[in-house]
Symmetry: C2
Subunit: 476 residues, 2 copies
């Protein structure tokens, strides 16, 4: 990593963590130069980068200051889902979302699509092309059922950053995180079993539970600290729960990172009640703070955590390369993987393995983390500016999704229909609940670099919401 | 298609169908030239090709004759599996097979791997590379849940040859035929349901039934005409069967093509008892006769047939591109596809769509069909030459798999273990049965062009079998 990026990340994470308060003066360029043994121009470069990110602002002749708090929407309250296992609904709404394909006339704020336009992805495309030209045609063979071993080596290395010590034999490569989730659920549960989930929760995971015939028990979830352990314990007392399914890092859709102490407490609970944990870490590498947050899996000493992830959010979803570290459920996950797709497409696996091995992954992550963090601030500002007063919004600590809560009575299904006519698509809140809750919420993607077109789209969402709200007030 | 290839295919299929008997004189070069309005040299080229294929032999000054019957192993008898629904076993043996990866020191006769060394595949590799270089990076996006529409258009066109009139909206692209099968089974059945299967039957489909908690009812199957309709009807009378799962074209492992009249009769039976049919057509395009055989789906007038296939056998398995035409089960298959992998990797889909659209698919198929047919004859000859007397073998009408039956008491698991030490791998027969039948059988792949190394490997199989048999006779 170049020196100034290192320094900028360090300062940025100190500001994020609150070590410097808004409006406070930051150390001088000279002081930082001495402290870190780098040149004055390196420190200046780092400060300029933080300025670009909106984290610091220079004052002439006085140095750099932490940017003043921006006016942010209030946070959503802790969720209050149904307190009993339910059969999952909402498939039609999910289908509508996932049937959509990129279209030049539609701004898609709804899907979980990362930005794939970054120049740091170029080496990946080069690798994909090179593999097609190799004489031994490694992309055409059946893969080993575990997945390509070079790729598994690289994944095992990456996961060290999350505190996991895994060997290649502990990993199974999958066709995206979807397959990791469905194989894991089927490895642990039978149809009819009860699965406890954070709420709101990723619609793909919910629909997987539905498709496999499980019941979901939605647990109240705090938009800053994650799933309520108190509510979870009550539920574990009351119901024969087989599996706890959570996204503790850069949660989708709420964006929180569960504090490490709560991750440990969650694992202790799971051990006490002897249930498995399915940990979805698909956004974990996109936390804005560095080093990346730990996984629950990293504390797991009896193999009860199935850690699922993929390169769909960090690199590109079209590659369909995910993985699972299934702990004690390895053999059963292998069987489920075999019957699900036989093996995973080879060429994308090989290209990703090359991309990581050649050192392109971390610089790419660094760039995306910083881009997404700036875009989050931009998107939050737009919500403040364009959405009805009283709108609440999440404050994501990673990833590229914003969760927006409108007044209780509001119906985002109607909003979505009105928006589609205007060439804007959102994800309606109800698909993030097993029982169709969160009808007054929506999720917006801020992965793409902010443009006037995107601002206009967000403005349309806010103004259309306002119009619908007013019509509602006037009995419309 | 070039003229001589056309003519060679026509003559070849007439010989295959028995219109000309072994040893019989074929029409003169001049007569064929007049009949088909082609030049004398075109006819000569066609005859030379048939001569290369071992189908005809020239006699000086007398013209061309149908090659004399080669000494062939006797056919296996009609199978006699257990006549009740059973829970499927044998996962450990399948796992052993699918864990294996290509290794320079092992001749793999066990896996369902096509020959990917053909120069006719070069344009596909070129397309794969080109897509990686496109500025709009279509390989990186989430795909539509139905799959790429250009590819679905090409598949719909290809399926016309099998008698199916399908629109793009009738098709769902999957991650290989595996995913097509598992989504289809889950769309129709619940855990505990009974599925009737031809027997022996593809181990992947069997393990899918196992993994999904279904019971398999194995139906006696004739090595020439396929599943016994008489036995199937009895079973339908007796058991609450939900689904009939069959591979009527170029069956894996037996290689037969079910006669069209029996396909229609099968459909009538399914209609009478109101059960769905899962038709695996993954080898259908590799039938040695041209035009390719019809599918059961082509006669389906009430949407009860789920037709599953892929490009894994015709092009390359590492691409993981399959599809399903699920008839009336479309919505449910879409849900199962979504929870299984979200969507299919994009780049291989686009490359295959280009490959077909640019006219490369049919010439490739033609080459492979002819290569596989010759290799079948070669493999049958080797079995005659090197295997114990009394060995029976299938007479495949397409694809690249030979089914070999050794004496009743023989154990191919022991054979496989002995062979692995000698660098040869086979597929043991028991994985093709739900209940571990066919322990005396094995399947060998003849996709690769015959070489002395492959002959040596087949010889090792035969001679090792012989040694084990003799040891058995002498109480070893």
């Amino acid at each position: 990593m170049t020196l100034y990026l290192n320094l900028a990340e360090l300062l940025g994470s100190r500001i994020e963590q609150g070590l410097y308060r808004p409006g406070q003066r930051l150390p001088s360029v000279r002081a930082l130069s001495v402290e870190h043994g780098v040149s004055l121009s390196t420190v200046q470069q780092a400060y300029r980068m933080l300025e670009d990110n909106g984290l610091v602002s220079p004052r002439p002749k006085s140095g750099y200051f932490v940017a003043e708090d921006r006016q942010l929407p209030a946070l959503p309250a802790i969720s209050r889902p149904a307190q009993r296992p339910v059969d999952i609904s909402q498939w039609e709404q999910v289908l509508e979302l996932v049937r959509s394909t990129p279209h030049p006339d539609v701004i898609q704020l709804g899907r979980g699509m990362p930005d794939i336009d970054s120049p740091t992805l170029k080496p990946l495309l080069r690798s994909l092309a090179q593999i097609s030209r190799r004489m031994d045609m490694p992309g055409l063979y059946y893969d080993n059922i575990h997945g390509n071993v070079q790729l598994r080596e690289q994944i095992a290395r990456l996961m060290l950053d999350s505190g996991c010590r895994l060997g290649t034999a502990d990993l199974v490569v999958t066709t995206g995180c979807h397959e990791a989730l469905s194989c894991s659920i089927r490895a642990v549960c039978e149809p009819g079993d009860i699965v406890a989930v954070d709420s709101p929760s990723f619609h793909g995971a919910m629909q997987t539970l539905k498709g496999l015939g499980m019941k979901a028990l939605e647990i109240p979830t705090d938009p800053i600290t994650g799933i309520s352990l108190e509510a979870l314990e009550l539920a574990l007392e009351q119901w024969p729960i087989k599996l706890i399914q959570i996204t503790p890092n850069c949660n989708n859709p709420l964006g929180y990172i569960m504090p490490e102490a709560r991750k440990k407490a969650l694992l202790t609970l799971a051990q006490r009640y002897d249930v498995a944990i399915l940990e979805d870490d698909v956004y974990g590498d996109l936390a804005y703070t560095y080093p990346r947050p730990s996984t629950v899996k990293s504390f797991d000493d009896d193999g009860r955590v199935l850690l699922c992830s993929s390169f769909s959010k960090t690199l590109a979803p079209g590659l369909r390369v995910g993985w699972v570290a299934p702990g004690r459920y390895l053999e059963r996950v292998l069987h489920m993987k075999y019957i699900s797709t036989g093996c995973t497409a080879c060429q994308p696996q090989l290209a990703i393995a090359d991309f990581i091995a050649e050192g392109h992954y971390q610089p790419h992550l660094r760039r995306m983390r910083s881009q997404y963090q700036r875009a989050r601030d931009q998107m939050s500002d737009w919500v403040t500016r364009y959405f009805p007063p009283g709108t609440r919004a999440s404050r994501p600590q990673g990833g590229f999704m914003l969760w927006v809560e409108l007044p209780e009575s509001f119906d985002t299904l109607r909003l979505n229909r009105a928006l589609l006519e205007q060439g804007v698509q959102i994800a309606v809140g109800s698909i993030f609940s097993a029982s169709g809750k969160y009808r007054n919420c929506l999720r917006m993607n801020f992965a793409a670099r902010p443009t006037p077109q995107i601002e206009a789209a967000v403005r349309k969402v806010g103004e259309t919401a306002m119009r619908l709200l007013q019509a509602e007030l006037h009995g419309g």
